[in-house]
């Protein structure tokens, strides 16, 4: 019976089925892993106070695992398997690290005190402890039960001032600095052209004096704000019983996780999520948000789309509508097709050599001699990244557009021509509008590919921390020469180059999840469009 079963071949069919099951489990498993790890980060985790044989410990649970006793130092192998927890104790400034392992058997008691507070700080990661008192200057203004509400109220004020400081530093002072730099470049350019005269020098001097004064005013204002923000402080008791004083300007956010209702937690969750996508990163990208990375990715992809669409469409129209079909075109078509399979790093190398050093270097020496020796376009930047990715995604757009053009029924073209339209008119009024969904599909696929590419961008313009966004209020508003941040590179950088990988890991998962969602959404919409398109032409054919 066994033998006849094997002879029927059914077991082999089941093995084939098993292969696809493994693939499906892997696909959804990985997606689920990214989602769970990425999204759970924002949930306000309970904070425990553990009594252990080595003293008190205030910490969040991160993960629990059972390991062979032999692999834990100080435990005899005969213990078999033991359970241990990775806990986040925060307070890196006091303890040296955020995380530690504790053994389940060492824990004698665990509780969740209501008034345990978590403070998210500007530096040194989270703080865990009990709020004891609030100070204004040296004067104690609240303590005991009144401390927490008083503290929250003052924290609002601090946040408001911080927002003002940020806007002042980044926007106003940044603009003045930018103007001063432009003035210097302008002067230098006049000097190089030999057009300096006492009048121009005096004019520049006046302008500089004006800017300097503006700068000084802003500085004074800033100093005032800093005095304001430094006013308040709190004291808190940490797990070893000692009290520490924390200036309030160091605190970003505060909450008491064990004291929150489910609704509070949900609100907190979305607030965290919003902060994540809207804030600047802090502490070497391991804390804070990813806004500049999102912005950079979007800018780069937009620019790339603007470049790639017309060129891709023209090339496809040429290949399909105008070129004489023959061996040469067939070879070109295969070549273009296969360029999509060329490793992206090769495009990166090409972009670096050709765009950055060759084109950029020449542009600098022709148009920006005044900036020398600092390069303007002769260094990796937004423009070159977009161009490199445009070349990388060009085959995708060409192939998709060609496919769309090929699907347009012959009868429609012939109808148009028979009515007396010229070829160009047929193309413009009939063929292109009808193939626009195909072009869109190509573009979406190109965008999805570009958004996920990292390797070439590492060579042509992405940096771990860009001081300013490529788009701002200073003329010419769009700064194509600036370096930018990118979600994919952010993942690589924070996951592998950051000093505190363990603390940054949830953030990397969250970033990864964000990127996955964007890319899958783009791909699904491309697939949807393609299917709709096919249905439409099937109807026309009949």
């Amino acid at each position: 019976m066994m033998r006849s079963w094997f002879k029927s071949g059914d077991p082999w069919v089941w093995l084939n089925a098993g292969a696809i099951s493994i693939a499906l489990v892997a696909v959804f498993g990985l997606l689920g892993l990214i989602m769970v790890r990425g999204m759970s980060h924002f949930w306000p985790a309970e904070v425990y106070q553990f009594a252990t044989s080595n003293g008190t410990l205030i910490a969040e649970m991160v993960e629990t695992e059972t390991v062979a006793a032999g692999s834990v130092p100080g435990i005899d192998i005969s213990a078999g398997e033991i359970e241990r927890h990775l806990v986040k104790t925060g307070n890196r400034d006091l303890l040296g690290s955020d995380f530690r392992w504790i053994l389940e058997k060492d824990i004698t008691r665990r509780e969740q005190p209501q008034n345990l507070a978590v403070l998210e700080r500007v530096e040194w990661g989270n703080f865990y402890g009990y709020l004891t008192a609030v100070y204004q200057g040296d004067e104690k203004v609240a303590e005991g039960d009144a401390a927490w509400p008083g503290f929250l109220q003052r924290l609002d004020r601090v946040q408001e001032i911080r927002a003002q400081i940020n806007s002042l530093e980044r926007d106003d002072i940044g603009a003045v600095n930018y103007k001063i730099e432009r003035l210097r470049l302008h002067q230098r350019s006049l000097e190089l052209k030999g057009k300096t005269s006492p009048e121009t020098a005096a004019e520049a001097e006046a302008e500089r004096a004006e800017l300097d004064r503006e700068y000084k005013d802003l500085q004074t204002k800033l100093k005032g704000l800093y005095a304001e923000i430094n006013r308040d402080a709190i004291t808190a008791r940490v797990m070893d019983g000692s009290e520490v004083k924390i200036p309030m300007q160091k605190i970003v956010r505060a909450w008491q996780p064990n004291n929150m209702s489910l609704l509070d937690k949900v609100g907190f969750y979305f607030q965290s999520l919003w902060n994540f996508v809207s804030e600047d990163p802090r502490e070497a990208n391991t804390e804070g948000g990813v806004f500049p990375a999102i912005f950079g990715t979007v800018m780069m992809v937009l620019l790339m789309s603007v470049i790639v669409t017309p060129f891709g469409v023209i090339a496809a129209v040429y290949l399909r509508e105008y070129a004489r079909q023959g061996l040469v075109i067939r070879i070109i078509r295969i070549a273009v097709n296969n360029l999509a399979g060329v490793p992206s790093i090769v495009y990166g190398v090409f972009g670096l050599g050709f765009f950055v050093y060759f084109l950029g270097g020449n542009i600098d020496s022709l148009f920006f001699p005044e900036a020398a020796p600092a390069p303007v376009f002769g260094t990796p930047g937004l423009l070159w990244s977009s161009l490199t990715l445009a070349i990388l995604t060009l085959p995708v757009v060409i192939v998709a557009t060609e496919e769309g053009l090929a699907r347009i029924p012959r009868s429609l073209r012939e109808g148009s021509l028979a009515l007396g339209a010229t070829r160009a008119e047929t193309l413009w009024r009939v063929v292109l509008p009808m193939s626009s969904p195909a072009i869109m599909t190509g573009l979406i696929l190109a965008v999805a590919r570009a958004a996920g590419e990292v390797a070439p961008l590492m060579l042509v313009g992405v940096v771990k921390l860009a001081p300013s966004l490529p788009l701002d209020g200073n003329f010419p508003y769009l700064h194509l020469d600036r370096k930018f941040m990118h979600l994919g590179f952010h993942i690589y950088d924070v996951g592998f180059q950051s000093p505190n990988v363990e603390a940054a890991r949830p953030l990397v998962y969250a970033t990864a999840f964000l990127l996955v969602v964007v890319i899958i959404a783009l791909n699904l919409s491309a697939i949807g469009l393609r299917n709709r398109l096919r249905e439409k032409y099937r109807a026309l054919d009949n």
Partner: protein
């Protein structure tokens, strides 16, 4: 195509339309062709960057003149940029002159008690050996000043070992040949006297903390009486060896200590008389010039002596034989492992040691070459012939380090025991020898791709077979896009998961991972066997894959659960430790297994989607015919569907391999990126693509390193392009065949 008729041709409106039509035709034509040209530009640009590496050097004469000054010239030298040259005569006269035309800039007469009989140099340090057995060290310096943006050099002389003469031979015999080296804390002088003794004097140098001035004190003083007349000698920079060439085709190697010459020399016989000896930059390589024009490179290589102790042995490495006449002088380049030789026929040849390349040859046209001098940047070469004529050459020799053998063959590098494939492009020391073999990188690339394919191929192909042939259409509608969408998943995410999630997991659950690989297939079969007893099972025909998903999950859980017990029972509680102790297998946390699993996951969609297409588009009438003739569905698959679709499956495999080869982020993040050549599944690798990503941003533009990285990119480009083209052609053929059926 509407043909314009007579009436419409004169109609201005029609003319405008016709003009627009033409315009569009040209616009699209020009635009289309230029876009395609731009894409093809990639290939040509990479080629354009790579090609200069393989061109030979250019050398051409700038000028020729009689050296200024009087007496016999014993030494010539030239400053870094090649503007100012100098000569030292046997009368102790130092003349600085413009190297272009010999215009004298400065003359210095050294106050010496006797005639100069020999001179040796270490770049800009020079030592003069005198007729009375004494010696003095000089250093020539150039101070640059700028007047109206024009660089002006003022030459001068310093005395690194003090202005006092050093007594090398107490007997006062003339120093026929001399060699020396000055280090930060020591200095050594070796010399041959006229009565065939070899002298070695060693000095200790100390720096005064307050004045920063150096003092030199005699440390040791030793001598060896040559049994045969000696011709030339060199002292190595680390003051460890003296190599002395005898008149009778022999080379003596003396080992040195702080106390002086150690024991008896080791002698090495040559087939030809030695005419000249020299050292390459760093002093690790000894260059021996022979009377027949051959130059041999020798190095100290680790060896075992009779007692089994580690020793070093002078070993022949390679030879250079573009010259055919007696080698008169060997001049090493100051900043890399190149050198130039001059022979007795007046021929000057520029070689590079590591790549064994003869880069350029030029003839002075005036008899024997006596002295050669490189400018520090290696852009100017000065030659002095027998008739006191100076020949000045410009040398364009930017990429001597690379040759086919360096890139793809084994090369014997300085400090290595044998020829090897090594990639090490930069180091912190100045006398570093770049090691630019692409073999370890290509090996790593292929290794990563193979492990990825090992994992991906069975899953992708078997999965494609099931999806195309057996799966219920409704399930296929969701399964296919689900797997295909994975192709768009950014690899940086997969790389991050590989490095930070999977690698630690594999390390912790190694036994479980292997157990899982072993139990999955029997697990499926067991379930299938049990399934036969489930009533009403035919409803689920085509849904087998969905039924197996819980089985997969269960088996994964089971494998992870038994992981630790297996380790405890069979492997003393720690499989990794057990492997390295009992089987000698090392374990890196970021290893090929992790790369194979994750990169395999990345190429599954590529293979799956192409193979599935090929299998699904096998014409239905073939399948129905086979089934109608009584074949089972498995027989139909094996005998009808697979043979028909095999080219498509093959093309999918090639595409998958191409993708695995070019993948950058996963290998960058999931391997240790060490360029080792080891097939072990528990070791990492460094691939071409990851290497480019790591090194290009730091490579100096247009340097050899930069161009070699472009070459690596070109190799990747060609490799994947050829693979993909072949796959594409196979696929097109298949499509034609199906349409014929």
């Amino acid at each position: 195509m509407p043909q314009p008729t007579l009436q419409t041709r004169h109609n201005p409106r029609y003319r405008r339309r016709a003009f627009k039509d033409q315009l569009a035709r040209y616009f699209v034509g020009v635009g289309g062709i230029s876009v395609i040209a731009a894409i093809l530009l990639i290939f040509f640009y990479l080629l354009y960057v790579v090609i200069p590496m393989f061109e030979s050097a250019q050398i051409h004469q700038v000028s020729e003149y009689t050296v200024p000054g009087s007496g016999k010239t014993l030494y010539i030298g030239v400053e870094e940029l090649g503007e100012v040259a100098l000569r030292i005569s046997d009368q102790g006269e130092v003349v600085f002159f413009k190297s272009a035309d010999g215009t004298v800039m400065k003359r210095v007469q050294l106050k010496l008690p006797a005639r100069v009989t020999s001179i040796a140099d270490n770049f800009d340090n020079v030592m003069l050996g005198l007729e009375n057995g004494e010696a003095i060290a000089l250093k020539y310096v150039f101070t640059a000043s700028y007047h109206n943006d024009v660089r002006e050099l003022t030459p001068g002389i310093e005395y690194p070992l003090g202005e006092k003469l050093l007594v090398i031979d107490q007997a006062g015999e003339p120093l026929r040949r001399i060699s020396f080296h000055i280090n930060d804390d020591s200095a050594g002088v070796a010399a041959l006297t006229n009565d065939n003794r070899m002298r070695y004097v060693r000095y200790a140098r100390t720096q005064d903390f307050l004045t920063q001035s150096m003092t030199t004190e005699l440390e040791s003083n030793s001598e060896y009486v040559m049994k045969k007349p000696a011709r030339d000698l060199v002292l190595t920079p680390n003051l460890q060896y003296i190599y002395t060439a005898t008149e009778t085709a022999g080379l003596l190697q003396f080992t040195l200590t702080d106390e002086g010459l150690d024991e008896a020399p080791v002698s090495q016989a040559f087939k030809q008389n030695i005419s000249s000896v020299g050292l390459l930059l760093g002093g690790a390589s000894l260059m021996v010039g022979l009377e027949n024009g051959e130059i041999q490179q020798w190095m100290q290589v680790r060896d075992k002596n009779a007692a089994g102790e580690d020793t070093r042995k002078l070993t022949f490495i390679r030879k250079f034989n573009s010259n055919t006449h007696t080698i008169q002088t060997i001049a090493a380049e100051h900043r890399r492992k190149g050198f130039a030789v001059g022979d007795s026929s007046g021929e000057i040849t520029v070689y590079y040691a590591t790549s064994n390349r003869t880069l350029a040859t030029i003839n002075t046209g005036a008899g024997s070459v006596k002295e050669l001098a490189w400018s520090a940047r290696g852009e100017h070469l000065l030659a002095l012939d027998d008739n006191e004529h100076m020949h000045v050459y410009d040398v364009h020799n930017e990429y001597p380090e690379v040759s086919w053998d360096v890139l793809w063959g084994k090369v014997w590098y300085e400090g290595y025991d044998q020829p090897d494939y090594i990639w090490q492009s930069s180091a912190s020391t100045n006398d570093f020898e770049p090691k630019l073999s692409l073999v370890p990188l290509s090996f790593g690339t292929i290794k990563a791709a193979i492990y990825a394919m090992l994992f991906a191929v069975p899953i992708a192909i078997l999965g494609a077979i099931f999806t195309a042939q057996f799966m219920a259409p409704r399930m296929r509608q969701t399964v296919k896009p689900a797997i295909e969408i994975m192709e768009a998943l950014p690899t940086v995410i997969l790389g991050f998961l590989a490095g930070l999630w999977l690698a630690p997991l594999v390390e912790a659950q190694l036994a479980g991972i292997f157990a899982l690989l072993i139990i999955l297939p029997p697990g499926f079969l067991l379930f299938a066997w049990l399934w036969r007893y489930v009533p009403g099972r035919s409803v689920f025909d085509g849904w087998e894959a969905a039924l197996l998903i819980p089985v997969v999950l269960l088996l994964i859980w089971f494998a992870m659960a038994i992981s630790h017990p297996i380790e405890n029972v069979f492997f003393d509680g720690n499989l990794r430790l057990y492997m390295s102790q009992h089987w000698g297998i090392g374990f890196d946390q970021r290893n090929s297994l992790v790369v194979g699993l994750i990169m395999g996951f990345a190429v599954i969609p590529t293979i799956f989607s192409i193979a599935e297409d090929a299998l699904f588009s096998v014409p239905q009438h073939l399948i129905r015919g086979s089934l109608a003739l009584g074949a089972t569905r498995w027989q139909t698959l094996m005998r009808v569907v697979l043979p028909a679709a095999s080219p498509g499956i093959f093309s999918g495999l090639m595409m998958g391999f191409g993708r695995a080869v070019g993948e950058t982020m996963i290998v960058l993040m999931a391997t240790g990126n060490t360029p080792v050549m080891d097939m072990s599944i528990f070791e990492g690798m460094r691939t071409l693509s990851a290497n480019i990503a790591v090194e290009v941003p730091e490579a100096e533009v247009a340097s050899t390193h930069y161009r070699v990285l472009f070459l690596a990119a070109l190799v990747l480009f060609l490799f994947t392009f050829i693979f993909n083209t072949a796959a594409e052609i196979i696929r097109q053929r298949l499509r034609k065949r199906y349409s014929a059926l």
